[in-house]
């Protein structure tokens, strides 16, 4: 009887150690997985930030180009697609660029909204800038 009870206690103890071992390993894998996941998330965020910066700089360049356009070329439009004149870097090839031009009633100014839509798995990222161009002597400034 005494020998039997010792064996069963030992078996229970062995079982507990195995369970502890498995639990410890699972915990280790979970911790490492979450660290690697967080780093991957950070890397993706950095790439997205660079993309957004590039898009914003392209839009600012486009707005600067519009500032020198003759008044006749500054036609009102709503969500008109355009290709930035500076060219699109490979990281922004999937992005779409839209332009909205509203000429004010007195025709002395135009409100320009430039939007870049970058597709993402979590939904599109919108980068937009807005500028008011003064129309002087037949030219936007």
């Amino acid at each position: 009887m005494k020998g039997q009870s010792w064996h069963s206690a030992e078996a229970r103890r062995g079982g507990w150690v195995t369970t502890d071992l498995i639990l410890g390993l699972v915990l280790l894998v979970m911790i490492m997985g979450s660290i690697i996941g967080a780093i991957a998330l950070q890397a993706r965020a950095a790439v997205q930030l660079a993309q957004e910066t590039r898009a914003r700089l392209l839009l600012e360049g486009e707005l600067e180009r519009l500032r020198g356009l003759p008044e006749a070329e500054l036609v009102p439009s709503v969500d008109e697609r355009f290709v930035p004149f500076l060219g699109v870097s490979p990281s922004l090839e999937a992005a779409t660029f839209r332009r909205t031009v509203r000429v004010e009633e007195d025709a002395h100014a135009a409100r320009v909204t430039l939007v870049a839509e970058i597709p993402r798995t979590s939904g599109p990222c919108i980068v937009s800038i807005e500028g008011i161009l003064c129309i002087h002597g037949g030219q936007a400034r």
């Binding site: 490492m32 660290i35 780093i39 991957a40 890397a43 660079a50 910066t53 392209l58 600012e60 360049g61």
Partner: protein, 187 residues
């Protein structure tokens, strides 16, 4: 006595097994963790590069907008500074006759303020402002067919310090924009 030694042996076996499994996991996870930290560092550098490019472009753009005269070298601001005698690869003169000049020095973008009437900055009279030392290229050139519009191209090195071949693991991040002179100006 017998039971105690058996228990000891079992504990030792479990310990050896646990250490074995741990070593196997660490040997597999080690490179993954190293790779992950490299990725983390590269992404941090990419974030900084984006911010630096925006700041540098903002400041150069602000100078260009106010400039009355822009002098530039089509080859851009290379690492060799002061290629023009008494001048710089990019210099802007403002309507109040003061000026700002830029050049690249050891990967840093350096801006000098020139006092009125001076062609070269005197060390005691220049305000020196240095950006991060990771600039690969900084180009300012007029856009063909559009007077007064200047294209700015910035390339920033992003180092991935992995292994011994640091050069092979460098990546260049490009940022491009354009700025129009407000006052006037000529190349």
């Amino acid at each position: 006595m017998n039971g105690r030694s058996e228990r000891r042996a079992q504990t030792l076996n479990e310990l050896v097994a646990f250490i074995g499994v741990f070593v196997v996991i660490v040997s597999f996870a080690g490179p993954a963790v190293r790779r992950a930290t490299d990725v983390a560092e590269a992404s941090t550098r990419l974030c900084r590069a984006s911010q630096t490019a925006e700041i540098a472009i903002g400041l150069v753009g602000s100078d260009l907008r106010q400039a009355s005269i822009v002098t530039y070298d089509p080859a851009g601001l290379g690492s060799a500074a002061k290629t023009w005698p008494g001048g710089f690869r990019l210099a802007v003169r403002f309507p109040d006759h003061t000026a700002a000049a830029y050049f690249m020095q050891d990967g840093a973008l350096v801006r000098y303020s020139l006092a009125e009437g001076l062609e070269t900055p005197m060390s005691e009279k220049c305000l020196r402002w240095v950006m991060r030392k990771d600039f690969e290229q900084f180009n300012v050139a007029p856009v063909a067919g559009d007077a007064g519009l200047y294209r700015i191209d910035v390339a920033i090195r992003i180092r991935k310090p992995v292994g011994r071949d640091m050069q092979a693991r460098e990546q260049i991040a490009h940022f491009t924009t354009a700025v129009r002179l407000r006052v006037g100006g000529s190349p």
